[in-house]
Amino acid sequence: MQILNVILVIFLIIAAIAVERTKDLLSAVIIFTSYSLVMALLWLILRAPDVAMTEAAIGAGITTNLFVIVISRTRRQEK
């Protein structure tokens, strides 16, 4: 179990750096969604199923939705 934990955390860090580096905002948001889903997985490992469900529904679902709407109303590329 521990090794899965380590892999997930490393994935999180890589995803966070990828979000920071990506110029395309839409891709950044999608990467952030996968980050949230992996975070939900990590919380299942940490025995917090309620938090995992909430993160999957709110963090990954609703937040992404809002971001995508706002990007569609503004601009997709970072300068």
Partner: protein, 127 residues
């Protein structure tokens, strides 16, 4: 302070939370794009949540859902999870509000890059 691989493996969640915190802060501070800043804020928030939930974890314990009469089995500390539930909802509230502000700023200035907005503002001041 000898850094061993064991130490690294044992505390991976704390280390991950700290690293994510700093990456999020870096994103917020250096990127002029407002949406990127909001994503950075979200990364910071999730990192703190990760830290919080990790505090309550006990290796080998079960999720805090008990059966009657079996309360004696080891379960993880439920308090951090309950707090983080609150925290996630707070985070979505802040994010939604920040995004609506971004929409308004885009309407007003035509851009969401902070440095371009600053240029527009200084040009307006000189007029």
């Amino acid at each position: 302070m000898p850094i061993e691989i064991d130490f690294f493996l044992n505390n991976i969640n704390y280390i991950g939370a700290m690293v994510l915190f700093v990456i999020g802060l870096y994103t917020v501070l250096t990127h002029p794009n407002l949406i990127k800043k909001v994503i950075g804020i979200n990364i910071m928030e999730t990192s703190v949540f990760l830290f919080f939930v990790s505090i309550g974890f006990i290796s080998g314990a079960n999720a805090p859902i008990v059966e009657q009469g079996q309360a004696a089995e080891t379960v993880v500390n439920p308090l951090p999870s309950a707090m983080i539930l609150t925290g996630i909802v707070v985070a979505i509230g802040v994010t939604a509000f920040a995004l609506s502000l971004i929409v308004k700023i885009h309407e007003a200035y035509g851009t969401i890059e902070l440095d371009e907005i600053m240029q527009i503002r200084s040009a307006e001041k000189n007029d």
